[in-house]
């Protein structure tokens, strides 16, 4: 048997489990409706590039991002956790396939399809709402989506993957993921207050590694603010890229830990 066939078998099985009719359709409906309902053209920055950033940010604002993160957490935690609890994973391990490929097939379904669906609808919506934004500032649009995808989406997915494998229970891992998502929202408010209060930008920089979108946000919102000395840290564009890279390194590290645990330490 060719190596690709068992991989495809597991991938198809995961797709069936993660997106039973009409789960995929409900999420597609919510993503599409939310994209248009939450689109806000009110600019918060001083330049057209900042306007592009603020528009894309509102498109993937809190309610929609929460639904997207919930879909990912549901797929990663319930998809894997359910298989571990019900003993399906033992059957999957009997396939002539390395463990890491089994996990890849599961993640490709749970994470890859969700990301494809969400960002596909977002880009389509952006083309309908403001084609000039996406055509004039493709790099700003790409960077904003890359930052939003890094954290909270992929960061939480990496953490929940590890918790699911460790706890062997999907439900608890989803709860932890949702709590972490909400905690992140609260912390982002605190971080700015701490920076203002102490006059030190350390808290902002640490937070920018965990959530690179915060660095991007400060960068764009301060763009074109001539004459006013910023009260807190304002990163340069190269620093923003650096923090985005660091954010993805953290995410990659989490997934490496998850893969290593699944590959070598997971006992069923």
């Amino acid at each position: 048997m060719r190596k690709g066939r068992p991989f495809l078998e597991i991938f198809t099985y995961a797709l069936d489990e993660d997106y039973r009719f009409p789960i995929l359709e409900i999420f597609a409906f919510l993503f599409a409706l939310g994209t248009f309902v939450f689109a806000d053209f009110a600019p918060y920055g001083q330049t057209e590039e900042a306007l592009a950033y603020s528009l894309v940010s509102t498109l993937c604002g809190f309610p929609l991002l929460f639904i997207f993160v919930f879909l990912i957490l549901k797929n990663v935690a319930y998809g894997l956790g359910g298989d571990l609890e019900k003993g399906v994973m033992q059957t999957l391990f009997s396939y002539p396939l390395k463990r890491r490929y089994i996990l890849t097939a599961k993640l490709l379904s749970g994470l890859g399809i969700a990301v494809l669906l969400f960002f596909g609808i977002q880009i389509f919506g952006l083309f309908l709402l403001a084609p000039d934004v996406i055509l004039t500032y493709p790099s700003t649009v790409f960077l904003t989506y890359a930052a939003q995808l890094c954290s909270p989406a992929l960061l939480l997915a990496g953490l929940v993957l590890f918790f699911t494998l460790r706890l062997k229970r999907g439900g608890l891992a989803v709860v932890i993921g949702v709590v972490l998502f909400l905690a992140g929202l609260i912390v982002s408010g605190f971080v700015t207050s701490i920076a203002y209060g102490t006059g030190s930008d350390l808290s902002l920089k640490i937070w920018a590694v965990i959530n690179p979108n915060s660095a991007l946000q400060i960068y764009y919102y301060n763009m074109g603010m001539v004459g006013f000395a910023p009260k807190t840290w304002v990163p340069s564009f190269s620093e923003v890229l650096l923090y985005l890279g660091a954010g993805y390194l953290v995410v990659a590290a989490l997934f490496v830990v998850g893969y290593a645990y699944f590959d070598r330490r997971l006992e069923i």
Partner: protein
């Protein structure tokens, strides 16, 4: 069978997206923010109100009434150009006075017009009546608009009642200007309302009309197969 399932699920997703667009197109546009104010304008003086940044999707509806004939303009400056002008003014008036910085930030266009009209004139007393009269003089405005005619978006003839709706073609910092050319003080009442573009909704309806039939066409074979399969087992 697998191809029918794959195409069917793609079809149902497209249908869901099309239905979402249809639902959105039925939601009435929300009324934007609205604000108004009254202001006296001295003889041969003008006033400028920075409105906000507007785009082809977010326009404004402006209405105004005055006690005598006035000249009204709607001006629009691209944020980049606005920034360049601020930088130019900062360099022209290298004063660290925070009030001046604030003034440059809030009234970039009037100060640029003033600077162009009186390039050698410093700011002896920013809030003194003499400086204020010079900055807000109608002659300075006329000279400024002659130098920068490209920023005029709307220039109706003189009158005492005005109403206009405008969607800029680009993202622009919009300003409303009222010039009082008479020798009497006039009282001006303003109302500005933010309005959302309907054009994007037209595009959404077209997209919905396209997606829904495609989605149905792709989904039907899969849905039939699914039903047949269920009734068989």
């Amino acid at each position: 069978m697998r191809w029918v399932t794959l195409l069917g699920r793609i079809g149902t997703v497209i249908l869901a997206i099309g239905l979402a667009l249809l639902v959105f197109s039925l939601i009435p546009s929300g009324a934007g923010s609205q604000y108004g104010w009254s202001q006296p304008i001295g003889p041969e003086q003008y006033m400028l109100e920075e409105l906000w940044v507007y785009s082809p999707q977010t326009g404004l509806q402006i209405s105004m009434e005055s006690t005598d004939n006035v000249h009204v303009y709607l001006l629009g400056v691209s944020p980049v150009e606005h920034d360049n002008w601020r930088t130019l003014l900062m360099e022209a008036y290298p004063d660290s006075d925070p009030h001046l910085v604030m003034f440059i930030y809030s009234y970039t266009v009037p100060l640029l017009f003033f600077h162009e009209a009186y390039p050698e004139q410093p700011f002896p007393d920013l809030f003194g009546p003499q400086t204020q009269n010079m900055v807000w003089n109608v002659t300075v405005l006329d000279k400024g608009l002659e130098t920068h005619p490209e920023i005029i978006l709307w220039d109706p003839p003189q009158g005492s009642t005005f109403s206009h709706e405008l969607f800029p073609e680009d993202v622009l910092n919009m300003m409303a200007v009222v010039a009082n050319p008479s020798s009497n003080t006039v009282e001006v009442d303003w109302k500005v309302k933010e309005i959302a573009a309907v054009a994007s909704k037209d595009r959404i309806i077209v997209a919905a009309r396209l997606l829904i039939p495609i989605g149905i066409a792709l989904a039907i074979p899969w849905l039939i197969l699914r039903k047949v399969k269920r009734s068989t087992f």
